[in-house]
């Protein structure tokens, strides 16, 4: 989501293999070029492939030595074109991306791009289950003038809800921040989660089955 001074991006650290929680310490956020963050959901190998291609583009940018670097607008537009052309050839990159960033002296940029080539700019977006569980929370609480801490707290809350209700989510996250001067991806942050609810722990049936909840 965008906040007062830029834009943040958060994702959990899980790479699933179908329904198996296979790799639990994966960073799904990637710094691209100087000003941009790419967050990837879906097929991780496609995310890695595209990341490598974008790194090559960033290197070529740097090689021009003219102080001119591509920003989030350029990268997100380019990724949108790639995704749409791949889907049109029936060979999609099976991902939902969030491309965020902020170049100094320019407004913050936030774009959603997916495997169909759908691309749009918004103040806040989410992929996967985040779309269903997180967006309602964001719609209630997001404001354009949020501070960084407020934005981080809101993102954390959304991912907590995702962990509670999405059985393929995870309780460790990264938060990336683009504020116009730098792009920083945090160290892994464990989420708080509480399982001591009465509904979960109190006995409801005659026999000692603690897991019955009705």
């Amino acid at each position: 989501m965008k906040y007062k001074d830029g834009v943040i991006l958060a994702a959990d650290t899980l790479a699933s293999y179908g329904s198996e929680a296979r790799y639990k310490d994966v960073c799904r956020l990637k710094k691209v070029g100087e000003y941009t963050l790419l967050g990837g959901g879906g097929e991780l190998s496609d995310f890695q492939y595209l990341s490598d291609q974008l790194d090559e583009m960033a290197d070529e940018d740097w090689l021009n030595e003219d102080g001119c670097f591509m920003g989030p607008k350029e990268y997100s537009s380019y990724i949108g074109r790639v995704m749409y052309n791949r889907r049109s050839k029936f060979n999609p990159l099976y991902n939902q991306f969030v491309v965020v960033g902020k170049k100094k002296d320019e407004p913050a940029h936030l774009m959603y791009v997916d495997h169909q080539g759908t691309a749009f700019e918004e103040n806040f977006v989410a992929t996967g289950f985040g779309m269903h569980l997180g967006i309602p929370l964001l719609r209630n609480s997001w404001r354009a003038d949020m501070s960084l801490d407020e934005a981080k707290a809101l993102a954390t809350k959304c991912l907590e809800v995702c962990f509670y209700r999405d059985c393929r989510a995870y309780c460790k996250i990264h938060i990336g921040v683009c504020n116009g001067t730098s792009v920083d991806i945090s160290a892994p942050i464990p989420l708080n989660h509480f399982w001591g609810h009465g509904a979960w722990t109190e006995k409801r049936l005659e026999d000692d089955d603690p897991t019955a909840t009705w």
């Binding site: 021009n64 003219d66 102080g67 001119c68 591509m70 920003g71 607008k73 350029e74 997100s76 537009s77 380019y78 074109r81």
Partner: protein, 246 residues
Amino acid sequence: GLLSDAKNGKMNRNQYDTDVSTWSPQGKLHQVEYAMESVKQGSCSLGLVGKDFVVLAALKRSTGDLASYQKKLFKIDDHIGIGIAGLTADARSLATWMRTECLNHKFQYDSPVTTGRLVSDIADKHQEKTQASWKRPYGVGLLVAGYDRDGPHLYQTCPSGNLYEYKAMAIGARAQSAKTYLEKHLDSMPGADLETLVLHSLKALEGPANDKDVDVKNACVAVVGKNQPFELLEGDALEPYLRQLK
């Protein structure tokens, strides 16, 4: 120059000037030099850079009273335009290529192309033609005016493939007299407003015009810069400026 030497019979046509892939013993590529001569034969185009604007101006030639005046200034994109001197057909080919590149870049990256990078690619195109025996160099010089995120720029491209950035420059016939005028007023350009820059560009054309008048028929001006997409000033639009110069 080469042309006057040829007319005087002083130029030596030699065994090293038939194709561009042959070096002369003096280390020259004569075909490239002959191509640059073609640029010098074209009518004058000039450009100058202010703090927020680039102005291009040119003298248009006509073959006679019944004919139209040859177009010298071309819009490439909202933020880029060119002035040409030399083979117009070569210029149009390059202009078409530049326009396509600009459009493709805008479509892919949702962002205008950086002028310097586009011009760098043109220079590479020129160089290609100097390193193949079955091609010929472009016979046109371009003055490329562009306004990027980091401000206004003026570049010159050459049949040799060399690339230069300038604060002010003139190419084509009698360009030296325009350059002399531009050098004299160079220090005042960064502080000048757009109208003053346009007046300077028209005044600078008076040298190359020689004894002829600079009027609404044979002069053309173009401006590009901050909050100013590339705009051509021709015909009656030049009247208020030309009046000020009288």
